[in-house]
Symmetry: C2
Subunit: 303 residues, 2 copies
């Protein structure tokens, strides 16, 4: 089956892995994309794997590795260590796709803490080119380990509003350039509508990602305004915001992607509501706004 | 003189044009970038022109035209009308540079009002490709009128967080593509650090803008986190946020730009403080973080 819906557990942050798995299974879906902390809470990746498999589900992705931008040697070593653990966990729960949020500027830790005087703020490390260089280096170090474990490092371009504190990787084109030196089965990209819907090169870069066999995941959620007080929570249920889902979904299917489609929504109201309500609404909206375009494009694609 | 500092009146929104002009002149600066509503408050562009000239200042830009994305004929007609008035006003106050914020999605008016049920929200016009097409059409209609008046339409790519409600134009590369069919003396671009600092193609696109003679203005302000409750007001004094001013300024000067450098900061605390304090701080920060790189790059440039 193509285009099967998956719940990313970021959408139901109040649930344990067991609860999320139970809700997903009850709703009739077959896939779940867990976050790493849920694996830990469940007693480790092996137990998590059993919880997922026992319910008849498969893991569509694991969220998340990355954060490769520390400028100091200790920070870099810790980041690589954490990513190797994430790679092992992904393999253990049976997904090939480890989502990577690459990390922000070193200045962020300092400036967000609100510490330091004006001179210290001015001299904090804001070298985004340097940070991007460290992401490329860290990725190169992780690729052999990921390949050994049959896991793909899935680069996630984040919306540019998060470039300072979360990901110096902001566009799909940049993600593909970063992936280019590595085999497609070991470094991929995710198309997350919230992050990339505005990109004037989106159509071209989705097509390129497809032709390079790099599309590892398609994640759908809407871009809401006004932005939430916590900017991370500005994501919305499909249809409530500004994303043109039929168009982007068509491009994704035309690029040859037929895998699971994950719903990952950080939004206070949605996160707080009953998971069965969320699963019901997201399934309806998916069937209205996303799936028809995917299926039509697939039907038109020469076999 | 190269790289003369200019106050964009968006930084001092509580001042009338006369007050802003007086504060700028008292601080020793020579340029001001007024917003259109200040001209109107001052009794029209002719009077505004006299106020600026009598203080020995020149207008570096006029903010702003644009908003060319309405989908209905009446909306389009009104937008063109308003832009023609802005072109006349720019000519009247003696600046060639009319900053253009191109407008957001038609859905924004509807969704931001919070009206309508889920079905209406889902069916609102979210066609960003269509909106961009209308911007190109509107621009083509305005170019002859701007040329007659000796005014340049200066396309401003806005940060992608404003793509839904303010500008479907999000990158410098897209602005240059939009400008390409028109003469460089009639359609230009502005490099505003807040909007473009994150762009992985920034260096290349600033160089392209320079080689195409399109850089009409360089605007500096910082990108602050956390985002302000009103996302528009997340701009910061240079040095307080995440922008690497020395690097971007070097690129701008290497691209051949030597004109005024405007400071445009929407930030509640800065907007509320005494204008003389703002002018003093912005001058200091400019001389620390921006001007040295501009001058060094200019000195290295072959004559």
């Amino acid at each position: 089956m193509s285009f099967e819906l998956s719940l990313n557990t970021g959408t139901t942050p109040n649930l344990t892995l067991e609860q999320a798995v139970e809700a997903v299974a009850a709703s009739g879906l077959k896939h779940i994309g867990p976050w790493r902390h849920l694996l830990e809470q469940a007693g480790g990746a092996e137990k998590a794997s059993a919880i997922i498999a026992d319910a008849g589900l498969t893991a569509s992705t694991l969220c998340r590795g990355g954060f490769l931008t520390p400028a100091d040697a200790d920070g870099r070593r810790a980041a690589l260590e954490s990513n190797r653990a994430a790679i092992r966990e992904a393999a253990m729960i049976g997904t090939a796709e480890l989502i990577m949020v690459v990390g922000g500027l070193p200045a962020a830790a300092h400036l967000l803490a609100g510490s330091g005087d004006a001179a210290q703020k001015m001299s904090a490390d804001k070298d985004i080119l340097g940070a991007r260089g460290r992401v490329a280096e860290g990725l190169a170090e992780l690729v052999p380990y990921a390949a050994e474990h049959g896991v793909r490092l899935v680069l996630e371009p984040l919306h540019p509003m998060y470039a300072a504190d979360r990901a110096v990787l902001s566009t799909l084109g940049e993600a593909l350039d970063l992936a280019a030196p590595h085999p497609a089965e070991t470094v991929g990209v995710v198309v997350d509508t919230f992050h990339v819907w505005w990109d004037p090169q989106l159509r071209e870069m989705i097509a390129r990602a497809g032709s390079e066999q790099r599309i590892a995941s398609y994640q759908v959620c809407d871009f809401n305004l006004p932005l939430a007080a916590d900017a991370l929570k500005s994501r919305g249920m499909m249809g409530d915001g500004y994303v043109d889902f039929p168009t982007i979904s068509r491009w994704v299917a035309e690029a040859g992607y037929t895998g699971p489609v994950e719903v990952e929504i950080f939004n206070q109201a949605i996160n707080d509501q009953d998971a069965s309500t969320t699963l019901e609404t997201m399934t309806q909206r998916y069937e209205q706004l996303v799936l028809p375009s995917l299926e039509q494009a697939l039907a038109r694609t020469p076999a």
